[in-house]
Subunit: 168 residues, 2 copies
DNA sequence: ATAAAGTTTCAATAATTTTTGAAAGTTTAA
DNA sequence: TTAAACTTTCAAAAATTATTGAAACTTTAT
């Protein structure tokens, strides 16, 4: 396969995976493009490469910055803004884990906690089933939260070393 | 909080989490409803509880069966079909992991593998950057895949025991 | 101050995804 | 058989989400 074709395939695959995981296709594609680009790119270059509008490019880039996945760069003597992706895949994974934990897991933990404290008649099957499911999900969510917390602090080699050794 | 209100809140929270993770809101809500229901429910009961149409209910239930999260039940002397959710949260987590691994991770691993084999000029920064990103993502994806594989075979206590002990 | 270069915003439009509801299909019992 | 009870399908409609593009805004250089 040609490099040019391979790049397109990578961008497409990343976009598809993103959309399956609740991340806007275009956002995932812009990220993919920057990931495989050795140089920082301008908004115009990104618009051209992916055939998207200026407005879309601008909003997507802003979101990616919000996720901590890319940053703006300025080149000496130039007005234009350049965008550059962190290429360290472990950083990326941690950054995504950090944001999703904050945006999604934590609010759910909060609700589960409130729901854990609902009191009722232990004889009532409706209550018992509700309580058991909520408590079990809560425990699982707390374990996931703890594991993510560890991941956020960990070095890649140590993390996978520990996990894969145990599971070997 | 009243049990009735708590149930609604749980269904709502589960639906929201689902939609953030690329799972249809209604599907997550039906799953939530069945999770906290001590008895199997009919299509009609589900339609009523969530105010959804018969068509929607039917398709959603079919999808949930496809994900291995619920099953049909028949009660003696009744024509109606009843639906019942597996309440074991560890089974649920494994089932979801299994399906998403198959549907999403494996296709991506396949593409990454193809892209890893693209050859080019080691002096070309475009090629070098592409290759490095693809290889790094590939390694991460393989580690995730191995960990999921272990999870699929594991008992809940052993799994979290091992992970949390290492990370303590 | 002005104009050029560049960035941001957002209402309108387009695309996608979800839902409806009624018709077609199936199963069971009499 | 027939018809009642129930399930499935799917084209059309609704809802949601993403994208465009042009105007407004900001910054910099002269």
């Amino acid at each position: 396969m040609e490099l040019a074709a391979a790049k397109l395939k990578f961008i497409e695959a990343w976009g598809k995976l993103g959309s399956e995981w609740g991340i806007n296709r275009t956002m995932a594609q812009v990220h993919a493009l920057l990931l495989i680009s050795p140089e920082a790119l301008t908004t115009e270059e990104i618009m051209d490469a992916l055939s998207i509008s200026r407005g879309n490019a601008n909003m997507t880039l802003r979101d990616l910055i919000g996720w901590g996945l890319i940053e703006k760069q300025h080149k000496a003597g130039e007005r234009k803004e350049y965008f550059f992706a962190d290429k360290d895949v472990w950083n990326i994974a941690r950054q995504v884990a950090k944001e999703r934990k904050k945006r999604e897991l934590e609010p759910v933990l909060k609700v589960l906690n409130e729901l854990s404290s609902v009191v009722g008649d232990e004889k009532d099957p409706e209550y018992k089933t509700f309580k058991k499911s909520v408590n079990d999900i809560n425990k699982l969510a707390v374990n996931v939260d703890k594991t993510l917390e560890t991941m956020l602090k960990a070095e890649e080699n140590w993390f996978w070393g520990s996990i894969l050794k145990v599971f070997k």
